[in-house]
Symmetry: none
Subunit: 207 residues, 4 copies
DNA sequence: GATGAATGAGTGTTCATTCAT
DNA sequence: AATGAATGAACACTCATTCAT
């Protein structure tokens, strides 16, 4: 299903970066072709159209979205530690694929684009169920509060991360993160820690 | 400075909606002209160019961004209540202006667009200072923890809200919010409450 | 007939300069209006249209084209001196009105423009007759050759002058005329002298 | 460098004629496309832009501007005959390329257009040197006067020719040249002869 | 008499896509 | 299988002009 040849993959990678940088409409197939060092016609030839290229890109990236955390529940650690691990893992993965997340973030919300996001939705649902299980376990152990709005937990994690990324310029200035590495480091440490603390507090604190 | 006539305001309103729906690049001046029921040339005539229309729109909306919460600090309520009020007020206002926030959210992150966002950044900074004051007060009263990453607090609030909005379709399905009113209601009640609880927990809970 | 009010004359003067600099098509009524510090609508209001503005300009300038050399023939000087005087006077006048000449030079040759050039043609014919008379006088006195192609005499004068003007940049470089004044000076002295010598030689020299 | 394909050449030819007829600004790419029977986009596709089309046209025509008169100096004829030959050859060539000359004539003088005219200037300079050599030879042989303003000699030739061409309508009427052929014939015979006589007289006649 | 507001037509250019090879 | 050539449609924008006031 997702068997792309070498050149197709190169196109997808270039497209991913450009779509993330300049948006779908802000990117022309010529831009992609030039950077990918291929003929303009190749995009239509390989993917059918620019829109289908986006769909292919989403498919290409989303297919690997399955959380490799299935065994998290079996691990012999506390629900709190599970949640910490999940958040860390989650942010790491989003961060590694931030381009496609950024694209999806916008093109999903765009009403006119009707990409088939079944896979993405499914991944989100699986993720949600994983969280749900951890929460339930914590509640059963009397560690977490009862009235937790579980569906909004991923919203906080994802939302905070994306908000930080989207305002990178602002935060770089504000927090004195003057290199790309410093920024990356802040995301994977401070921001991650902050989100972990936030979620933990929400789960544990009687409110 | 921001004295637009009736027709200019109509154009701005149409543009705001379309830019939010389909993005800046995804919206043509012809689209705007058609819906605003004006001649295409009017946009250049009134605003100079499409880009300047966006700038005018940002100016038009941002000029009213001053938090009317200046007196919040003087109120005789606990820091926790202050934070609750601030979050509620904040979300209400973002929600009322969600179109422009959505536009900014995207166009800010787009590297090529160089809108003058001094006003916006200033508003963000003022907002941050307001939060900072509340946190300090809470800390002095021994209510809040010491090690709070204040700059990331707005990130959680704004991020969670926007994440929810950007994935409206997903959440409507997930949470059974089948009307626009139900969704709106959920945002202003459940989501707001959830974010309030989250922030409070983070501030209060020893972690 | 050529009674223009103050504002109309200002418009005409601005238009003259811009048309000469950038051509008729290269000049927009907005350019003119901006420099003349008037409303755009004024041009249509006063002159009917941009084309009619050109016509008015031609009329305005051409009406004063009558050679004030009518009494040249009566002067008690040799035909050679008459010719010298005529050339000097001729170049001086063209040079003073070089803008309109440049415009006419181009717009006349342009096939689509159908300006009424009766006055201009008349002036050219009168000028030609004047030359013809001098030549005849010179021939009767045995000073000039018999086989002079009189209609081509103004061609040499006008052509040489205009060629020099149109290639001002090239000649400034070639002849080291680094200021506007130096160029002007060269035209009124060296170039004039050169054309005088040329015409005289042609008239006198047996060839 | 100047390797244009068949269609590009056709576009260049159409553009040349239209630019000469109606000026650069007076000609739209749609005019060109319509007559050349091609798509409007082809002009941008082939040449990049309308301005670059003009540049390409200049390049295309100018590259063949080298005078094939290099061996004129070696010929065993008098300087007078050399000058006659040069003028005849010169006018013939200008006349054959009158369109591009007409275009250059105007677009050069237009201050805003900054075409690279190095080649053209070089050709003019080479031409000037050729004339200079003939004049020197004539002076050494005692045939020509000493005080000849050589740089203004091409001005007379070129200027007279162009003045005649630009006022074709006037001269056709004046000289009774009622067909294109008659006009062409007049240029290549009478006008050429007249210019030859003029230059010769100027060179030889003590003045 | 004079003008700001407004407009339809036209500008050069870029777009994603198609097609013959 | 792959591509250079080509295209119609759309793009943002400027144009000269009109018209209500």
């Amino acid at each position: 299903m997702t068997d792309f040849n070498e050149k197709q993959i190169e196109i997808l990678q270039v497209a991913e970066q450009l779509f993330a940088e300049k948006g779908f409409d802000g990117t022309s197939v010529r831009d992609i072709a030039k950077i990918a060092n291929i003929n303009v016609a190749m995009i239509s030839y390989y993917f059918g159209s620019k829109e289908k290229l986006l769909e292919a890109l989403v498919l290409y990236r989303i297919s690997s979205f399955k959380l490799e955390l299935e065994n998290l529940n079996q691990e012999n650690i506390s629900p709190i530690q599970k949640m910490e691990k999940l958040i860390e893992f989650y942010i790491k993965r989003i961060n590694k694929n931030k381009c496609i997340y950024q694209i999806l973030h916008f093109e999903i919300s765009s009403k006119k684009r009707d990409i088939d996001l079944a896979t993405f939705t499914k991944a989100k649902n699986e993720n949600l169920r994983l969280i749900e299980n951890i929460v339930k376990e914590g509640q059963q152990q009397g560690l977490f509060q009862k009235n937790i709005n579980v569906p909004l937990l991923p919203t906080i994690i994802m939302g905070s991360y994306l908000q930080f990324q989207m305002n990178a310029v602002y935060y770089k200035e504000l927090l004195g993160l003057h290199s790309e590495a410093a920024f990356e480091n802040y995301v994977l440490n401070d921001l991650t820690l902050h989100i972990q603390k936030t979620i933990k507090a929400l789960l544990v604190y009687e409110n």
